[in-house]
Symmetry: C2
Subunit: 418 residues, 2 copies
């Protein structure tokens, strides 16, 4: 299987791009190659697909389900009771819908933290995206629950041996306030022993920070350090409530950080994400949308704009986190975090690519393609998406879309009674 | 000319809507009427068109022209020299493009502050939108320039007598730091005498606030009070740097306030817009995008989401500025500010309406149409737009779009050499 993209804009110059199998093989003008499929790149620009480094895909079924509420009743009276209703079928269709939305808005790879990895895998595999999936790990400080969770995780890893090469199992304890010291350490050891990526929520809210000080006598980051679980394969979602010492610790252990601007603003977790301080210490920072119950979408273009302009806003400095820089955060930094050879339009890289339609209002005039993508456009600017060398969307058409929408509408009725 | 919209969702119920001439005549189920045009509203929701209460339409030609720069060189080395290149033709095509973008993202009426009202009017009239236009007034504290500006304004008002009923002339001194006391007072008197809306930038940046204290011994709002220019027909754009006394003054004089979240964040003007304090005093707050050199688009859906989630973020309170509330800010409050009988889907109101396509990913599932519109979707969710009883977009197709894009690409080349 091969694809030739003719005359597409790459870094403001026109070129051809030849994809063979799963990889970008050649980039250059007037390539003399034969391909199974030829795409006309006229009036289109090519970018690496976005890497959504923190999401809860099937949570999309609770999009708009409970809005503008205080955090506590929102979680305990609305979200958790609704999530208790999930079945194999809701997870399958919810994940399909999330994948559809990611394809339509340019995400080729995502890091998912939710439930029922078998159905999650099935949905992602059918949709063709790259993903790091999991069964979220909790024990609520109950020893019996901890042992049960360990057994489930071991079984899941066996199941994952049958996964397509694009879907990886990963280890995701929920957070320090829902996972015991014993289980957290086990997770780190298990991830390291099996060469799996390792991910958790950390320092998301002021309440989490204050409770960590109260319960453990340490900030969330320092508590994780004390547990001995910090390592380069660990990525932390949110990381809003950190001081200079915490940031130095994350840098020392090469821990990766995932910024989630939409969710952090909407549920009032914290808006002063310390991008500049982390960058100064060399920390790899990537970008996520979080789940659609809080974000309320999976649009990484929106997340890029929001991350950039919020950083400019709270620092009173319009020069920080430029368009080019946030584009790296949303692509190559995600690839580095998850150890995949993607996030760049380069020969030898995985063919995880998007074509942006420049023949539209938000790209007119086009003094600066990257600036127009980040600041003027949104995910709907994506015209064509290729993942692992396969075309998943062309001219904004994704096969099977209507079927997914109708199944989700039908299956989401169960949440109405919650 | 009449339009019948069948089976459309209004406030979560299905109804028919009959438009005759420029007005919404009847709303109800199974209306027994004949219409020149029938629109199938199946899987669509109807909303009032958005009212963009502060914009610089033709500035869209400088979208992405100078990004991520400090404010001072951005303005003096990039934007002002580029704006000096404007011609009748650039203003005409720039305004056409801005109107196209507003139509595509659901704005039926906008308040414009730019140059060359004749060309601006021509473009808007051809595109069919409702607008309040102007020639921005400056004198840079030069008496001769002040007199010249007054004469131009008087001539513009004569010209405006030939405008279509949808385009209104309005009086827009730029700001207190570019307009003398004498000219500002003349503007207020001229606006009042001619029953025109009156608009200026106010308290946008910390620098403006500090200079106002230094130069006038008063905050920007208190200085405007001292000038005697505060009145119910005045709307102020930005209003970020205000204290409790300033807010009380604005309330006392029934001055309207326009919030511009995208621009305020991106150029680091200030992010703590005091929505709750102004609302508590009964101030009418409406919403704008500002010009596309700072926003970088005219997407009022994006502006609604940003206004809402930023208010939740900096107050650490997810309950403030709900989806329903920001929708009012972007519609009925704008109508109130400009004294037009629009901003609502009600019998007798102007037929300035949009149909949202619910059969798409970001509206699936649809637990809450308003929440999905504000928090999950963006301007691309708009399927059909009606302004003043005329269909300007149907199934996302706007007549003449490609011609506008090509003319703008061509004419924008003059800015490259700036």
């Amino acid at each position: 299987m091969s694809i030739l993209i003719r005359n597409v804009e790459l870094n403001e110059k026109l070129t051809d791009i030849f994809i063979e199998g799963t990889l970008i093989r050649r980039i250059g003008q007037d390539l003399q190659v034969n391909a199974d499929t030829v795409i006309d790149g006229t009036k289109k620009a090519i970018f690496p697909g976005f890497i959504n480094a923190h999401s809860h895909a099937a949570m999309v079924l609770l999009r708009g389900f409970a809005e503008d509420l205080p955090l506590e009743p929102w979680l305990t009276e609305k979200i958790w009771p609704a999530e208790a209703q999930h079945t194999d079928e809701t997870i399958y269709w919810g994940t399909k819908l999330a994948c559809l939305e990611m394809i339509e808005s340019g995400t080729t790879c995502f890091n998912d933290m939710y439930f029922r990895p078998k159905q999650t895998y099935q949905a992602i595999s059918e949709m063709g995206l790259r993903a790091f999936i999991s069964e979220t790990i909790f024990d609520f400080f109950d020893d019996e629950k901890a042992e049960q969770t360990k057994r489930i995780t071991e079984e899941n890893l066996k199941l994952a041996q049958s996964f397509d090469s694009t879907v990886h199992y990963s280890i995701k304890p929920h957070a320090i306030y829902t996972v015991s010291e014993n289980l957290f350490k086990w997770c780190a050891d298990f991830a390291n022993a099996n060469h799996l990526t390792f991910h958790t929520h950390c320092a998301e809210t002021r309440t989490e920070y204050e409770n960590s000080i109260k319960d453990f006598g340490l900030s969330p980051v320092k508590y994780l350090k004390k547990l001995g679980v910090l390592s380069p394969n660990l990525s932390l979602a949110h990381v809003v409530w950190v001081d200079d010492e915490d940031i130095q610790i994350l840098a020392d252990y090469d821990v990766k950080v995932v910024h989630n601007p939409q969710s952090n603003l909407k549920i009032s977790s914290g808006y002063q994400f310390k991008y500049e301080e982390m960058k100064a210490k060399g920390i790899t920072i990537c970008l996520g949308t979080d789940g659609a119950a809080t974000s309320n979408n999976y649009d990484m273009v929106e997340a890029m704009k929001l991350a950039s302009i919020m950083q400019k806003a709270w620092r009173f400095d319009p020069t920080v986190l430029s368009g080019n820089e946030i584009l790296d955060v949303a692509t190559i930094n995600g690839a580095k975090t998850f150890g995949i050879n993607a996030g760049a339009v380069k020969e030898g890289c995985l063919a995880d690519l998007i074509l942006i339609n420049l023949n539209q209002t938000t790209f007119t005039p086009n003094h600066d393609t990257v600036a127009n993508l980040i600041y003027a456009a949104n995910g709907s600017a994506v015209d064509t998406m290729i993942c692992n060398g396969k075309i998943l969307m062309k001219n904004r058409i994704v096969q099977g879309k209507q079927d997914i929408i109708e199944n989700v509408i039908n299956i989401s009725k169960i949440f109405k009674n919650t």
